[in-house]
Amino acid sequence: MYKTKFFDHVILIVGCLLMLAPIIVAFTTSTHSAPEIHQKGLMLSLGDNFGETYHKVLFAQTGFNGTVTGLSMMLNSLILGLGFACGKIVLSMLAAYAIVYFRFRFATLAFWMIFTTLLLPLEVRIMPSYQVMSELHLLNTYTGLILPLLASATGTFFFRQFFKSVPEELLEAARIDGAGPVKFFIDILLPLSRSMIAAVFIIMFVYGWNQYLWPILMTTDESFFTLMRGIKQILQVWVGAQIPDYNEAFAMAVLAMLPPVLIVVVFQSWFIKGLTETDK
């Protein structure tokens, strides 16, 4: 029925190579020393500088007051990713529950107020958002880092779609058995949503970890720097350097992409399900 199997594999293998090669080269090059890279260019072989480079990137103190290390930046990225994912799940589950399962005045208004946020990404309103944050004295705080990112309806949208697909009979049965809204939510809806929560968690963690613009604006205090902020830092030092620290930059890139890549690969079935199930 279908004969060109061979070419299918060829195209797929070429595709995989092109997608994966930059990541592999980034890692292998990071194991060489900076002068070596400067001389020979990017490398596919493993160098012998792995321990030294990564130790330096993770533990050496840099910055003006010497409090930033790769590890502290990683910790901040982790706080941002986890805080964002958890906050998003709690907020959006509650809101979606109210929107789908309750009859109340202003329901339509609340719905539109929340879903309009899908239209305007943070990048568009970055300047006024910054001003609002500085008026609220939230610059250089974890609260200021996480809360504004939560002001979008993606999570609510995911859970709304999911709740709508939950059979009505469950609610009818629960009401006949005398369960109130709180009991229904905790005993029935929450266990049902377990895989959905996992999927949203993965997507949101990756999203939070990968944030760039907002952390850059919000954190001038180095102890709040995330890994993405560190990447900007490394590039700024770059200008004017004789031999730029290519190895450290690559090591930083590897550290910054490792956690999200691992999560996506390990939990790929959940993650794909979570992503694609909402496009309806």
Binding site: M1, I23, T29, P121, V132, R175, A256, M257, V265
Partner: protein
Amino acid sequence: MKRVQFDSRFLPYLLLLPQLSIVAIFFYWPAAQAIRSSFYIEDPFGFGASFAGLSNYTDILTSPEYQRVALFTFGFALVVTFLVLAIGLTLAVKADAVIRGQSAYKTILIVVYAIAPPVAGLIGSMFFDQHIGPFVKFVALFGWDMKVGLNYYDTAFALTVIAVWNQIPYNFIFFLSGLQGIPTSVREAAVLDCRSGPRRFFTVILPLLTPTAFFLLVINMTYSLFDTFALIDVIVKDKPADNPITLVYKVYADGFRGNDIGSSSAQSVILMVVVLVLTLIQFRFIERRVHYG
């Protein structure tokens, strides 16, 4: 909405309160601020602001620099969207057709999804580096003296390549799940009716994929308009002068570097309108022609 619902006086409001208050403080307040300050000219040193009417808008829309940036932004968005859709679809069709190794291909092809645009930009900037970049050395063989960061078109080329690389997995995931959602019975019926593989693809499979493709079209446009900010910031670094930048980058550069808050806010408002128009087009015109199976 559900047919059966709870009736409760306060609970729904209580449930909505956290989300609504966050949206109000961090979305509606800044959005209102942006609209307000777009009508003012603010003193760069913070000594008050004076009402300027529409002059911020007219200044922007008549500025040749803004027009150049706008032109680049939409050209860039179109090229990236088209390439990403085409490559994503090709890979998904092939991955759907093979049996052996399918899950391995799938895993490898989605890895890049997890890579943040700034990290992609950092890795990309090394590949396009003057001294060590293999890409630069490669095109030099054909006499192309590539200077990313210095030459406008070379930088635009590098940005496009990296942006496409970073966005392919997303399209791949959606196309593959769309393809796998097509019932076997439909495919078998198509095989009976039509022997030509390509023709079957264009008359049966592709129409069934249009909802997915359409969804991805909007997502990719938003991606190239907004999410590429980090990529541009990393590649262009702090020299936006002769380099290609997008409208979002200009909002940032004028607001934070140039300290021109009025102009930056007006640009924000213009972008908001652009996004609204895109969404309206989505609902009004294109969605009618899309086949929903």
